[in-house]
Every structure is written in structure tokens, then in C-alpha cells.
């Protein structure tokens, strides 16, 4: 019994008739054609498929497409508002927070959730905050550095924006 869903992804509405067993990650990759959300472990352990569901980081391999009906998703392709990269994306590039890059979209979106809740996390808070995302290449140190750098960038830009508004 197929179900109709309406999911807003990166600001664009996607309507489709899906099987209730279809996972959100498959909806994103195969129905919406957004392959930046990767499949790693299939069992919500590695975090490669992390996306933002109404702004909150979720592992899209443990969400059904039908559960996302009527809700809003941000994938890695939609994180940056414009052609430019989001400060977290810039920081991952500059700090070399990636090698093969397969875990990177999930890492970045999980870091986004963390920085929304805690704009200036300590090193330990970063490790705890994105500890559910696994990486096999980098040794994590540069990922932690990237999140620190992203936090600095975002705080600076916020201060600059606040000054401009005054």
C-alpha cells in the first residue's frame, strides 16, 4: 500500500508515492536524486547519512520517508545559502577535516546541529557532540579542529552582522 508524501528538501517541495518501508535516505538519494547523503552502515551507527530534519540532525537510515511527510529536510547540498560554502564547509576544507570524504556530509550536518545548540563548544563537547559519526581515514583530529574553526568563523560573522545592524 503506497502512501503519498510531501517533503520539503533544501527549500524545494518533493511529492511522491512511496512504499511505507522506504527509508528517508533512499528517498533523498533515489527519489530526489540528492546523493550527497551517503549510506555507510545501514543501521544508524556510522552517521554518514545524517541530515537535518526541521533543523535537527537525524540519521536518515533510521527515519522512514513517510515520517518526514510534511516536514523540512536540509541535506549537505542545501546547507550553503548561496554559491559560497557554509562556514562549517569552509572550515572542513581549510582544516583538512576529510580524506576520502565519504563521512564528511554527515559530519558537517551533525556539527551544524551541535553549533546551533552550543556556539562555542569545548574540545570535549565537540567530541561528544559529533561522537556518533564515524570516520575511517582522518584520525578525527582535523575534524575537531575544523569544528573549532567553524565555531570561530560563525561567531565572528554573527558579531559582524550584529555590528552592521547597529
Amino acid at each position: 500500500m503506497k502512501k503519498n508524501v510531501r517533503i520539503v528538501i533544501n527549500g524545494a517541495e518533493h511529492r511522491a508515492e512511496v512504499e511505507p518501508r522506504l527509508l528517508l535516505v533512499h528517498f533523498l538519494r533515489e527519489v530526489a536524486g540528492l546523493t550527497g547523503t551517503h549510506i555507510g552502515c545501514e543501521t544508524s551507527l556510522c552517521g554518514a547519512c545524517t541530515v537535518l530534519l526541521d533543523g535537527m540532525a537525524v540519521k536518515s537510515c533510521t527515519v522512514l520517508a513517510v515520517q518526514a511527510d510534511g516536514r523540512s529536510i536540509t541535506t549537505i547540498e542545501g546547507l550553503a545559502a548561496s554559491e559560497n560554502l557554509h562556514p562549517i564547509q569552509e572550515a572542513f576544507w581549510e582544516e583538512h577535516g576529510l580524506q576520502c570524504g565519504y563521512c564528511t556530509p554527515g559530519m558537517i550536518l551533525c556539527a551544524h546541529d551541535l553549533l546551533q545548540q552550543n556556539a562555542s563548544p569545548s574540545e570535549q563537547e565537540i567530541r561528544d557532540g559529533i561522537g556518533g559519526n564515524l570516520c575511517r581515514c582522518t584520525g578525527y583530529q582535523h575534524i575537531v579542529n575544523a569544528v573549532k574553526a567553524a565555531s570561530r568563523k560563525m561567531n565572528q560573522r554573527q558579531r559582524a552582522a550584529a555590528r552592521a545592524a547597529d
Binding site: 549510506i39 555507510g40 547540498e77 576544507w93 565519504y102 564528511t104 581515514c137
Partner: protein
């Protein structure tokens, strides 16, 4: 003629600097395409029915119900009735369907019957008396296993000569083998092999004892020693657990042309492998890969599932079919690092000078057994006796795992040496330093590295004799290990073109495993041509480009950097010849720097790069730089030192790493940023296999008990300690040329952590991973021995 060498330090504009990777933007924005992401219109989804038994014979397959299901486009029998299956999870039937759930439904509708055969998944020590004498004659299965599991030709030939065969070698058989690409040397050895029909019916021992190797006079060595230490050490079978699983998408643009998008470490090597299996010319196979989500040695072949994917596509009228392994299949079948264990006796004089080594080692690489790790590792101890027994099991076939056999050799050797240092009442740093002259040509490197590592670790402040005597359940300790690796460079072809409009492009069949190969190629090209990296278009990852070696053995950086350097210098030679008249100079007097072509002695006499290229006329200039080639640009042989600082909770058995140090040489560094990153990544991978990773098989059912990432645990963000990486970048090292780095730094962490744990708790935990149960068991034994 250009002189093929690296630019002098003062002339380098990019080489050796910290450069951000060129593919960073596509990777952080989700636009990088992995094989898993290939999603063309009309894509069909593959699934594979896998054997649930560790050892069985397929007796019947009924696919009729699956074939009738709506949405099923192709069904392919991978291993037909009568086939003997040697590990759980091996491919039996593949299907392609309009979507993944339908393919799964079809798999469930297929009926396969098996005759279950006895299995062995235990790589425990050979029982006394087992494996005596040489292994029996080779059966057809033995030969098939050896040929199908990338056993080197030399070993197959030697086995055929020594062991003979249990079957009659027919012309049809040799013709078929030749068709599969088996070399003439192997076929000749097979024809000449002694025929032992009587052996076919005899039961065979799973233990294959290799010939003993003796060097010097071990008995005399041990007799002369003042201190002898004995122990047992080892590391189990682990998997690669790449985040992007193995797999591919295949399609047939015409009836005899195949296009594959395959997750691979060797793009140029794929066509031949597909061609042999599918009986089409290799030139009709095109392979493409933009990005790969990890390989670590496990992704060189299309594998059975990849060939089946191509066959499914063919049956489905050439439509694209994608099949990527599920995580459980990946862990069960797509990569197993051989285990290695050893009983070691090692002895020294009272002053710590090593005099004798004896080891009885064993390990499994699955159905084909496994070769011996290089023992004793790094130290060429004068008197040695060593014997290795390969254990044939139904573990799944072995694959190369980052620095094949070296992490195991390090665990066996460095832990034995650390135990000996303890018996000698010596600080291990002093003990290792005392014996560095036994490390051969790399001794000068280790002599620089060892004190440096000790300083970075704060060894003098942290080290104490074995057993932390401080109060409380948490004990702290430090440990060290040393390692070595080859490197050099694989065959490489760099097709570099300079166009009259000033644009430059490079085409290479190489691949970037995430190590930063694209960035390295562009650094070398841009530094050589004196133009910015973003002025060069780089195309890699396709068989349409000149062939390049597979990325294994830390050979990629040597291969691509030297072929690119040669191409750039050859191109400049030709460009200078065209430009020289305009500058009223001789070609040999010109240089390309800062976006200009100019006279070396008078830099103001110059043309911009664009003006200079306009002198080419109507045709672009195109050259192919090769490796191997003229000039000494690359080298082989690195040495490294690893140290660990750990805390052990003696109540729970939990080990926590506080700090890791890696001091590593790799000759001339092309990109310091990505080079350091290799070491950071290797350290955490080392922590992972030292503390958590093990392919656990149930001896009763023969099945893997942890084929998921919950129980096949990888180190996570909370497990990272303070990491210190130091690259040896002095002129002495740089003058050696470029040497590969991917593998070496992953070798030492396991042994260093094991030694640190022994230093903390005062007793050796013999086997990796150092899980709480193993730590507690060692502590309990220590307590019993004390009481």
C-alpha cells in the same frame, strides 16, 4: 635535454608546503560522486543471495519463483550446483530489479539447497603433531583457490613443484586456465607437476607447515645469552570496513562494450579482469571512478559480485545495474586481514645486545592459508630459527590490509622485545637504541627518530619499570614500537598538454583514494611549470586516460609525482625551444617561474605564460611523462617510530589511550598537509585495531558473529587521544626523493599500545585487540601467579 630532478629547496614554490586539497569543495558540498552515487535514469538494483554456511556444496538452485516476480529484470546464477563454497556469505545467485525492495523480495523467493560440509574457522595454535611434514598434493580446489585469491605466481609454481597434484592435468584444463589469464609459467609448472591420485581421497590437515628458516647458529646464540624471554603474541583476523562498501554499477552501451563505475583502488587494472570473466576484449571495457569511500587494500578486483553485476546488466538488455554490498556482506566477505600469532623466544647479553631469536608462528588467511609475517621485524638478529604454519580456514579470503603482514610482525616482534627489555631491567628506549645497528640501512633514520619520539612523548618523565605502583585502580604506562616499509612508485603515465591559448591539462588513469593524489599531481605540475595549480585541468579516474598503477603498497605518490615531474620538464623543453627565439636566448637559458617564461640570468626579459604558449602555433604540445623513467626522483624504504601513553582501569579492563606519537620519514614530502593527515589517520586506525577490531566467528556454526558496525567497532571521536605527528623533512631525507607514506604509520600503534598496557599493569596481554575481557584475564593470571 631536461635534467630530471626535483627543484632545489629554495626554488620550490609549492612542493613541501601545506596545501589544501583541490577536491575539498566538492567533497564538503556533497557534489563529489562515489560509485555508490551513480544514479542514471532507468537504473536497476542488484542483490545477491549469499551462502549461509561456512563450508557447503550447492546441490540445487530454483530461481523460477523469483523470475516470475513483477519488477525482476535479470537473474544470474553466480555459483552453480556442484560448487563447493568455502566461506559464509559467498555469492550464489544475483538478481536485478526495478528497486531495492523488489530485489530483496526476489532473493527471498529463491530456493537453494546445500550439502553442509565440516568447517574450520578457528585459527588457534596447531595441536601438537599437526601439520608435520609438507602439505599434501594440491587438489583442483587448492589450485582454484590459489589462482582466485591472488597468490603470487612464484608461490603457486613452488607449491606445484613441491607438492604435486591429486588430479590429472588435461589439455582442456590448461586451455581454460589460459583463457582466464593464468600465466604460462604456472601452466607449465602444472603440466610438469607430479600426479598423486591416491592423495585425493585422503583427509587433509588444515595446517600447512612451511619450511623452517635458520640463520647463524641459534643454539649457540641462546647458549651464549645471559637473559632469555619467552612469550606468545598475536593479532586476529580483522576487516577493512570501508565506509563506502564494495560494489559497482555496470551497463552495456552496445552488445560487446561494457561501462563500469566501480569502487576501486586500481581503475586501469579493471578492464583486464572484466574481460577475462566476460570474454570480451579488454579494450571494450571502460571503467570510471571519481571518488572512493575507502579501500585500505581491499578494492583491487571487480570481485564475484562485480562480474555478476555486469552479467545482470547484459541479461537486462544492457540497462545499468548497480550493486553495492550491504554492510553485513561487506564485513563477512569483502576483506579479511590474515591473523598471525607466534610463540617467541628471544635472548640478549646482559648489556642488552640481542643475540638470538626463535619463533613458531601461525595464522590464517582463509582457504588459502597465509604467509609468514616478516620475523623478526626491523631488527636483523644474528642468530635465528623460525617456522611458520599456515592454517586453512573457512574465514573468508584474505585481502591486503594497509601494510600487509607488517602490523602483525610488529606486534609479535616489538612485544617480545619489550618483554625482554623488562627482563633485562632496561628502559625500552635504551634497549632499542642499543640494538639500532641491527636495523641495516635504516639505522641512521631510526637513530634520529627514536630520541625525537621519546622527547615528544615525554618518555623520560612518563616511563617507569613495569607495573604502575601508584594508588587506585587506574594504571598508566608508555610503550614503543618501530616499523619499516618499502614505497617506491608504481608504473605511471602522465599525459600533459599545453595549448596555444595557455591552458594546460593532464590526463592520467590514476585514482585518488582520499589521500590527496589529485592535489599532489597538481602541486608537482604547477611547481614545475611556474603557474598556479588552478590553471591546470586534471583528469583522472578513467580508462580513457593513460594507464596508471593500482594504489597499493604506498606506491601512488612515487608513481604519479615522478611521471608528472618528467612530463612537466619534457613539456618545458619543447616550449622553451619555441619561445627562445622571441626572447633572443638559448632554450637552456630559460625558466618558467611566476607565470612567465624568462631568461634565468635576466628575469626581466620575459613573456607571460599566455604569450609564451602562443608561440606554439596552431597545435598543442603534448608529452607523456613516465614512471619508471630517467633521473632518481623516487626511493624506497622508510623507518618510523610510534609511541603510546595509556591508562588502564584494572577494575573494568578498559584501556584508554592518552597520547600517541608518530615520527615518520618519507623522503621528499610533496604536500605536508596531506602527508601529516596520513599519519593522523593511521594512528586512529591503529588504536582501532589495537583495542576494538576483530572478525569474530562462531566455531559451531562457522558464521561471523559481529557483521555490523555496532559489534565490529571502529574507534570514534571519543577515543582520540592527543596525537603528535612529526615528519622528518631534513635535507638528508629529502635528497632521497619521494617515498610512499600511506602504509607505514599504521604499523606501530598496535605494538606500542600493547607495550604501554604491559608497562601500566605489569603483565602482558598477549593478543590484540586489548579488550576488557583479555585485560582482566591477564590481570587474573598475574594475580594467580603472584599468589
Amino acid at each position: 635535454m631536461a635534467e630530471y630532478k626535483w627543484p632545489a629547496p629554495a626554488e620550490r614554490t609549492l612542493i613541501g608546503k601545506r596545501i589544501s586539497r583541490v577536491d575539498g569543495a566538492v567533497k564538503v558540498s556533497g557534489h563529489a560522486k562515489y560509485s555508490y552515487d551513480y544514479n542514471p535514469k532507468g537504473l536497476l538494483f542488484g542483490k545477491v543471495l549469499r551462502c549461509p554456511h561456512a563450508h557447503a556444496r550447492v546441490t540445487s538452485i530454483d530461481t523460477s519463483a523469483a523470475e516470475k516476480m513483477a519488477g525482476i529484470k535479470a537473474v544470474q546464477i553466480v555459483q552453480k550446483p556442484g560448487t563447493e563454497v568455502l566461506w559464509q556469505g559467498d555469492d550464489i545467485v544475483a538478481v536485478a530489479a526495478v528497486d531495492e525492495p523488489t530485489a530483496e523480495d526476489a532473493i527471498r523467493a529463491i530456493q537453494v539447497k546445500y550439502e553442509v560440509l565440516p568447517h574450520n574457522v578457528s585459527d588457534a595454535e596447531p595441536p601438537a603433531g599437526a601439520g608435520e611434514g609438507p602439505a599434501g598434493p594440491m587438489t583442483e580446489d587448492d589450485l582454484e583457490n590459489a589462482l582466485g585469491n591472488q597468490v603470487p605466481d612464484a608461490q603457486v609454481i613452488s607449491d606445484l613443484q613441491k607438492r604435486g597434484v591429486t588430479f590429472q592435468v588435461t589439455d582442456d584444463m590448461t586451455k581454460e586456465l589460459k583463457g582466464y589469464g593464468v600465466s604460462d609459467a604456472v601452466i607449465n609448472a602444472l603440466k610438469a607437476a607430479a600426479y598423486h591420485p591416491e592423495a585425493a581421497s585422503q583427509p587433509r590437515s588444515p595446517y600447512q607447515k612451511m619450511a623452517a628458516q635458520t640463520q647463524g647458529d641459534p643454539d649457540k646464540g641462546f647458549a651464549s645469552a645471559e637473559v632469555t624471554s619467552e612469550g606468545v603474541y598475536g593479532a586476529p583476523v580483522i576487516t577493512h570496513c570501508c565506509l563506502e562498501t564494495h560494489g559497482s554499477a555496470a551497463e552495456w552501451p552496445s552488445s560487446d562494450h561494457l561501462l563500469v563505475h566501480c569502487s576501486t583502488q586500481g581503475v586501469s587494472g579493471l578492464p583486464d579482469q572484466y574481460a577475462q570473466a566476460l570474454k570480451i576484449p579488454a579494450g571494450n571495457v571502460r571503467a570510471h571512478q571519481d571518488h572512493i569511500g575507502g579501500g585500505f587494500g581491499s578494492k583491487f578486483s571487480p570481485d564475484r559480485w562485480g562480474i555478476a553485476t555486469a552479467q545482470l546488466s547484459k541479461s537486462a538488455g544492457g540497462k545499468p545495474v548497480k550493486y553495492m554490498l550491504e554492510r553485513d556482506s561487506e564485513l563477512m566477505t569483502a576483506g579479511a586481514r590474515p591473523s598471525a600469532y607466534a610463540r617467541v623466544k628471544v635472548a640478549a647479553k646482559g648489556d642488552g645486545t640481542l643475540v638470538a631469536w626463535q619463533s613458531d608462528s601461525w595464522g590464517t588467511g582463509g582457504p588459502a592459508g597465509a604467509g609468514s609475517p616478516p620475523l623478526p621485524y626491523v631488527f636483523e638478529i644474528p642468530n635465528q630459527r623460525k617456522q611458520h604454519t599456515a592454517v586453512r580456514t573457512n574465514q573468508g579470503p584474505a585481502r591486503a590490509w594497509r601494510a600487509p603482514n607488517h602490523p602483525q610482525a610488529a606486534v609479535i616482534t616489538m612485544c617480545a622485545l619489550d618483554d625482554l627489555a623488562h627482563k633485562l631491567n632496561m628502559d625500552p628506549v635504551e634497549f632499542f637504541a642499543k640494538n639500532l645497528d641491527m636495523t641495516g640501512p635504516r639505522a641512521p633514520i631510526y637513530k634520529e627518530e627514536l630520541p625525537l619520539a621519546a622527547e615528544l612523548m615525554g618518555w623520560k618523565q612518563k616511563w617507569h619499570p613495569r607495573g604502575d605502583k601508584s594508588e587506585g585502580p587506574i594504571k598508566r604506562g608508555v610503550g614503543l614500537s618501530m616499523h619499516t616499509w618499502g614505497g617506491r612508485g608504481h608504473a605511471s603515465n602522465c599525459l600533459l598538454s599545453i595549448h596555444p591559448d595557455g591552458s594546460v591539462d593532464i590526463k592520467m588513469g590514476s585514482q585518488d583514494l582520499g589521500t590527496g593524489t589529485r592535489t599532489a599531481i597538481l602541486i608537482v605540475a604547477a611547481d614545475s611549470l611556474g603557474i598556479p595549480m588552478n590553471a591546470i585541468t586534471l583528469n583522472i579516474g578513467d580508462t580513457m586516460y593513460p594507464p596508471d598503477g593500482g594504489s597499493g603498497g604506498s606506491t601512488t605518490i612515487g608513481g604519479v609525482s615522478s611521471s608528472t615531474r618528467r612530463a612537466a620538464l619534457m613539456a618545458l623543453d619543447q616550449l622553451f625551444a619555441k619561445v627562445a627565439p622571441a626572447l633572443k636566448a638559448q632554450p637552456a637559458d630559460l625558466e618558467a617561474r611566476d607565470g612567465t617564461v624568462r631568461v634565468k640570468s635576466e628575469p626581466s626579459r620575459s613573456l607571460s605564460w599566455k604569450q609564451a604558449c602562443a608561440k606554439l602555433g596552431a597545435m598543442p604540445l603534448s608529452v607523456t611523462g613516465k614512471n619508471p623513467g630517467p633521473g632518481n626522483l623516487i626511493n624506497s624504504g622508510v623507518g618510523g617510530v610510534g609511541m603510546a601513553d595509556v591508562s588502564v582501569d584494572t577494575e573494568t579492563g578498559i584501556v584508554k589511550v592518552n597520547k600517541m606519537v608518530a615520527v615518520q620519514d618519507c623522503g621528499l614530502v610533496i604536500n605536508l598537509k596531506t602527508a601529516e593527515s596520513q599519519c593522523y589517520g593511521a594512528l586512529i586506525m591503529g588504536i582501532s585495531y589495537a583495542l576494538y577490531e576483530e572478525k569474530v566467528l562462531d566455531p559451531v556454526t562457522g558464521r561471523m558473529l559481529n557483521p555490523n558496525m555496532e559489534f565490529y567497532r571502529l574507534a570514534g571521536l571519543r577515543d582520540i587521544p592527543e596525537l603528535m605527528v612529526h615528519m622528518m623533512t631534513d635535507p638528508l631525507n629529502e635528497n632521497r626523493g619521494v617515498i610512499g607514506l600511506g602504509e607505514p604509520p599504521v604499523i606501530s600503534p598496535g605494538a606500542a599500545i600493547s607495550n604501554a598496557v604491559a608497562n601500566a599493569i605489569g603483565v602482558r596481554v598477549p593478543f590484540l585487540p586489548l579488550t576488557p575481557d583479555r585485560v582482566l584475564a591477564a590481570l587474573e593470571q598475574q594475580q594467580k601467579a603472584g599468589a
